[in-house]
């Protein structure tokens, strides 16, 4: 991934910035030019909630390039407290303890390493809400 591509999406991938429609209040994430629900094009900046529950997950054992070091890893679809859903990685948990419905919170992490451009890519992952000790 080139530097501009990585850099350009940082507000959305690192601060989870979304666009909330001024007309119908729908939260567009990732942001769109026009609202998914009503087609309007006026938005206000909105930050997604930090907590949610796991809707579904999958375990990846045969990773794409750049993800070898953390394999196996888990991707999940998370429904946040405001109803917005997003795809992310689930981390800090044993694979066999992951359950649909579990409560999660966001955490800032390294996502992958890009051999071509030499950049390390960061973003948000989600982890169980109450960490075990």
């Amino acid at each position: 991934m080139s530097v501009p591509r990585y850099w350009r999406e940082m507000p959305y991938r690192i601060r989870l910035e979304a666009r909330k429609c001024k007309l119908c209040n729908y939260v567009n994430y990732p942001p769109r030019t026009k609202c998914y629900k009503c087609g309007a094009s006026e938005f206000e900046k909105y930050y997604l909630p930090q907590r949610g529950i796991l809707l579904s997950f999958s375990i990846i054992r045969n990773p794409p390039t750049g993800f070898e070091k953390t394999t196996p890893y888990v991707i999940g679809l998370v429904e946040l407290e405001d109803g917005t859903k997003l795809l992310t990685q689930i981390t800090d948990v044993d694979i066999d303890e992951i359950k649909i419905g579990m409560e999660l919170e966001q955490t800032f992490r390294r996502i992958s390493e890009d051999g071509d451009s030499g950049i390390i890519q960061y973003g948000i992952k989600f982890r169980p809400k109450y960490l075990k000790f």
């Binding site: 991938r13 998914y36 990773p63 794409p64 679809l77 973003g123």
Partner: protein, 385 residues
Amino acid sequence: MKRVAIISYGMTKVDKHWDKSLRRLFGEAALMAMNKVNIPKIDAIIVSNMCASDLSDQNNIGTIVADELGLTPITAYRVEAACGSGGAALLTGFSLVSSGMFEVVMVGGVEKLTDNIGKMATFSLGKAADAEYELFYGATFASLNALLMNRYMHVYGTPREAFADFAVLMHRNGSKNPYAQLPFEINREIALNSEFIADPIRLYDCAPIGDGAAVVILCPLEVASKYSDSFVEIMGIAGASDTINLGSRDDLLSLRATITAANNAYKMARITPADVDIVEIHDTFTITAAISLEDLGFCERGKFDKLLNEGAFEPGGIVAVNPSGGLKSRGHPVGATGVYQAAEITMQLLEEAGKMQVPNSEIGLTHNMGGVGSNVYVSIMRRAR
């Protein structure tokens, strides 16, 4: 708006065709289609393909295939909608004929997934998903479908075995298909114990990777008998999209693009699902088959396993599903798959399907999907007499 017929079809076996280039593979399917009928000319070619730029360093495929067939200077270009490319090409060909712009249009799909090194094919296929918000997080195409499968089993309590049983049925069908990539039978245990690709998806839940080309030839229905003794009519055809991200979907257990495209195609054809005898659906993964059969109106939601057990998806049941073996056994030469489906339904309706033949089929449907339901094309054909 002219009515449109399919007057011929051709295809190659789906396989790892190390010895055939992209253009030669297309040529083979096109030659079969051209030799079956007496066509004085082709006026345009629409070719569907997803991965040639990544895997064969080639774009401009329209020109490549027109040149291969000695058909320059006709109009020829490529249509791409990821794995739904073939369906989108068929819709384009339909409109070129229906509008009266061209009389005889070749719609062909070709994919060459084995001309590359290492992980390139998997990486290339992933580009059907959202590069910035899905692939960025390490999601693979299989894992996105696995999210649907896990959720489906969680909500409906469907047993894991049901998905294995669908794979068994597909391989039984495909074992009779001379063009199938994996023409052998399997059993439930083989499917259930195959290696994990992206839990809970295992190898036998997935379509294999292979090369192939398929072609259909379209012309106005009113002149079809001039070129061929037997042909089918495309009674309905429609395409639809859905959000590129799974996260934006209201419902994970239904694919809105299938529902929209199917409803529009049924409406255009003036039929209901009950009128359909055979279907070729887009079962990239066994979970995709389950959800698609529900969304197409052949199965109540969550009842996939029950109906499968009852034989509802076999000849004599509700609808004969994938007599070709589907993506699972016939194979999935990505950009060509939608055209394979159209060729197979045509072959069935014309009673030319040999051992695969489903008797007394009058109306057939194709269902071709790009991404995880982010685009879908449905077409409905009827035997013309």
